[in-house]
């Protein structure tokens, strides 16, 4: 009788623990997905702005063909990219192409004074900021999720229900600031 009750008690505690850990893993995974959606929204916004930008700059600097082709090609690659790592690579290419476009634009005072161009530039800068913020949040979400997936005892539950590893959205660009380590 008593050993039976003890066994039952242990079983109940075990099940409750598994449920709690499972729910936590699901919450963490959902946060990874939500934050990826946020990145996606901002990337799409960026892709949408670029054709306008190219048209505007063309109006003032028609003979800088190489740069336009480069930007258009990089944009197409970014739109077509699938998967976290591939997307990150393609976006990095696009960032570099845009940088050279803005560098070219420096040489055209008329263009620099165009309200349309200034507006696009501001919008793109803001979008880049949001992408970098969204990336930071996404990577944090992935880190929490992967930590939970790999540490004891949640790794057992993660294994039971097949929680898959998620990739960081990483950009290997020295011009992008390194995160500061902060401990509370």
């Amino acid at each position: 009788m008593i050993p039976g009750l003890i066994a039952l008690g242990v079983l109940v505690v075990l099940i409750l623990a598994i449920v709690a850990i499972y729910n936590r893993l699901v919450r963490l995974r959902n946060r990874v997905e939500e934050s990826w959606a946020q990145i996606d929204v901002q990337l799409r916004r960026r892709h949408d702005l670029i054709p306008n930008l190219v048209e505007t700059v063309k109006g003032y600097a028609a003979h800088e063909k190489g740069v336009f082709e480069e930007v258009t090609r990089a944009r197409a690659a970014a739109v077509a990219a699938g998967g976290v790592q591939e997307q990150a690579q393609a976006e990095l290419g696009l960032t570099r192409a845009l940088r050279s476009l803005f560098a070219v634009a420096e040489a055209y005072p008329d263009l620099q004074a165009s309200p349309n161009f200034l507006e696009l530039q501001e919008e793109l800068t803001a979008t880049e900021d949001r992408i970098s913020s969204a990336r930071q949040f996404y990577n944090g979400a992935v880190r929490s999720y992967d930590d939970a997936r790999e540490t004891f005892p949640s790794n057992i539950v993660a294994g039971m229900f097949n929680f898959e590893e998620r990739e960081y959205f990483e950009v290997d660009d020295p011009e992008i600031r390194d995160p500061v380590k902060v401990e509370f």
Binding site: R31, S35, Q38, Q42, E122, A126, D129, R130, S132, S133, A134, Q136, F137, G140, A141, S144, R177, D178, P179, V180, V182, F184
Partner: protein, 307 residues
């Protein structure tokens, strides 16, 4: 510590402060009601009920009340596009919805955040701040305020402010009641109130508001360091916040609409005396009432992070 744990701890703390503060307040209301307005629990209970209703509404309406009391106006999305963009991008990094954005017309360099949770939050900056800070410095200040929102500091500080305000108000009423002759009248002798209760009442009226202000200040001081660090973490740029704080510290202006009730919400103490800004000259007594850590110390800590 992880931001979520930080937030959870602040939510728990808010509950305790609300509970503890509510108890202190109810006890005060009861003792004082009995003392000044005669025997029987009715006046005290009534006072406690009114206070509870007041506290409740101030809690749910806190963001609107604070925004209104500082004279902040919604920031125009076109005129203040950069500010809106910065708030949005920093909020994304913090993983919270974009707070409402306000501007306070003032030459002073200052900013604050308020609200009860990230879904009901507001961030406000002075026009002086917008004019004097560059983009990175402004971003750093915004990140400091957004950290307050994400970490639920705004709820903790709102709760503390509301409770402290209620206690101060009650003590104030009691002083007035005494002046109107509650204590010395012959009615009191007829009621036969225990002298001990009178002493207790007097002590409460003197000590409770003092205690409330000390707690408000201590909570606020500690939150500021933390928001500096989390803000720097959000933007990866502790140096920009240090630069911003230096400019804020050197500025001459003062926020006209800041009061003791909202002083602890601002990024830098809005009521701090302009002469002798350091804390060296202050006694331990004055230090207890500082709502903000010395700005030099905050800058120093940020520089250590950036090194």
């Amino acid at each position: 510590m992880h931001p979520e744990e930080l937030a959870e701890r602040n939510i728990r703390r808010s509950r305790w402060y609300l509970l503890g503060g509510g108890l202190v307040f109810s006890a005060m209301a009861y003792v004082l009601g009995t003392l000044w307005f005669g025997a029987g629990p009715l006046p005290g209970v009534l006072a406690a009920l009114i206070a509870a209703a007041l506290t409740w509404t101030s809690y749910w309406e806190s963001d609107r009340i604070v925004v209104a009391s500082t004279g902040a106006v919604p920031a125009d999305p076109d005129d203040h596009r950069r500010l809106h963009n910065l708030v949005e991008s920093v909020s994304i990094a913090a993983g919270i919805p974009k707070p409402r954005v306000y501007v306070v017309r003032s030459d002073a360099l200052n900013a604050f955040a308020t609200g009860r949770d990230p879904e009901h939050a507001a961030v406000a900056v002075t026009t002086g701040l917008l004019e004097n800070l560059d983009r990175q410095e402004l971003e750093a200040v915004v990140a400091h305020e957004v950290s307050h929102v994400r970490n639920y500091d705004i709820r903790l500080m709102t709760v503390v402010a509301v409770i402290a305000g209620a206690i101060v108000l009650l003590a104030d009423w009691s002083f007035r009641a005494v002046r109107w002759g509650g204590l010395s009248g012959s009615r009191r002798k007829a009621d036969g109130v225990v002298p001990l209760l009178v002493i207790f009442g007097i002590l409460m009226v003197i000590l409770a508001p003092l205690g409330a202000r000390i707690i408000t200040s201590a909570v606020s001081r500690q939150r500021e360091y933390l928001a500096d660090v989390s803000g720097a973490h959000l933007t990866h740029n502790p140096r920009a916040l240090a630069d911003a704080l230096r400019k804020i510290s050197d500025s001459r202006g003062r926020v006209r609409n800041a009061t003791h009730a909202t002083a602890h919400l601002w990024i830098d103490a809005p009521l701090r005396p302009r002469r002798g800004r350091g804390t060296e000259g202050l006694s331990w007594y004055d230090r207890m009432f500082l709502t903000h850590p010395p700005i030099e110390e905050r800058i120093h800590r940020l520089e250590l992070l950036g090194a």
